[in-house]
Amino acid sequence: MDPAGGFDLELLGSWADSHTHRVQLALKLKGLPFEYREEDSLRPSAAVLLHNPVYGSLPVLLHRGRALLHSVVILQYLDEAWPSGRLLLPSDPCDRAAVRFWSHFADDKLAPSVAAVFSSCPGDGRKAAVDQVHQNLKLLERELGGGGAFEGRRFFGGDEIGLLDVVLGCGSYWLAVFEEVMEVKLVDPEAFPRFHAWLRDFEEQREVKETIPPIDKLLEYATAVRQMMLGGTGADDDNVVAVN
């Protein structure tokens, strides 16, 4: 290993962005040193637009100057570029398909439903948004249970955290944050005992603690965004800022 940082990895990200956390955590788990550069997720810099002209979004991982985009694509790349180290994906094709399916579910269904709670108005709209999150959590709860794809496991990756844990875990902290800011119950340990236990175990992992910002910082951030949503545009306005 080159003492000057021979892996040549630079991560452009944002401190409150769960997709950035996914990549940071994955790099830590794989023991890959990297340089980190903080970017403004709402106002992409010239560097971000250069490396991600299609979306202009974060994170961007530069490996020897070449850009890797989309956190789930990046995580798979890390396994394939460093195949002799710790692997994030399982080796069996069926298990890999299940990881990909639920990762897509996390981004396509779960995350938007959680964001919808954050931008909801009190009353029926909020109740419907919370119900949708519960529906999605129920599906994950089932997969951790009898007959599920991840039956009886401590983590989705087995005894150690894997790709799906990283994808679901980096983002699940918003559940606790939104519970407080929006005064709703999202992860009831009685309704979702396995999911709740998994999340608690995930958040206890050393690398996870080193990656995810302190909860009070996230709370402060979410409260500020919520104030902006309500104060700047009016309480019932539909033009709310999305939190990723």
Partner: protein, 223 residues
Amino acid sequence: MAEVVVLLDLWVSPFGQRCRIALAEKGVAYEYKEEYKEEDWTNKSPLLLQSNPVHKKVPVLIHDGKPVCESLIIVQYIYEVWSDGAPLLPADPYARAQARFWGDFVDKKIYECGTRLWKLKGEAQQEAKKELIEILKLLQAELGDKKYFGGDAFGYVDIALVPFCAWFYTYKACGGLSVEAEVPKLAAWGRRCMERESVAKTLYDPLKVYEFVCHLKKKYGIE
């Protein structure tokens, strides 16, 4: 022990067609099962409901009783299980990451925007047309002067996009979008792909697709 491979699908589905093309490229024998008999979208077989309980949608690949859902996940699965023959994904990790990025781009953009183009009217349709042209231009730029998206080898991104070639006639007839005029290099790529047996045998005549769309529009009272 002989493998049993079943594909739950809908004839016109571009997502199902991705799987059929990948299976054909690999020479995998499988049983095709048509869902939604008589175009009743509620008519889902017990096997489909059991195999894809989360989304209850086709395509689903069932390999020795184990279901795999979502077309691009299925294509990657086919690549990983039947590792001889056609390399559906590039060997180089960076090229592979590029392929996954562009496959995801096709997935996110084409179907949704294309549907708005044939479904809507007036300003909303014009907006969809503008957006779809931009999307196709980005893809054409990514293709460049290569034979296929992956270079010389037909692969993942080609498989993700090629089923939509059968919808180009519908985009023109319903939305006034001429793929040939707007993105001629991409249109040429589509014709090159049609020379492949796996694609030619899978894609339906664009007129049949257009007929299907007209039938849908009538059924849902759009017009």
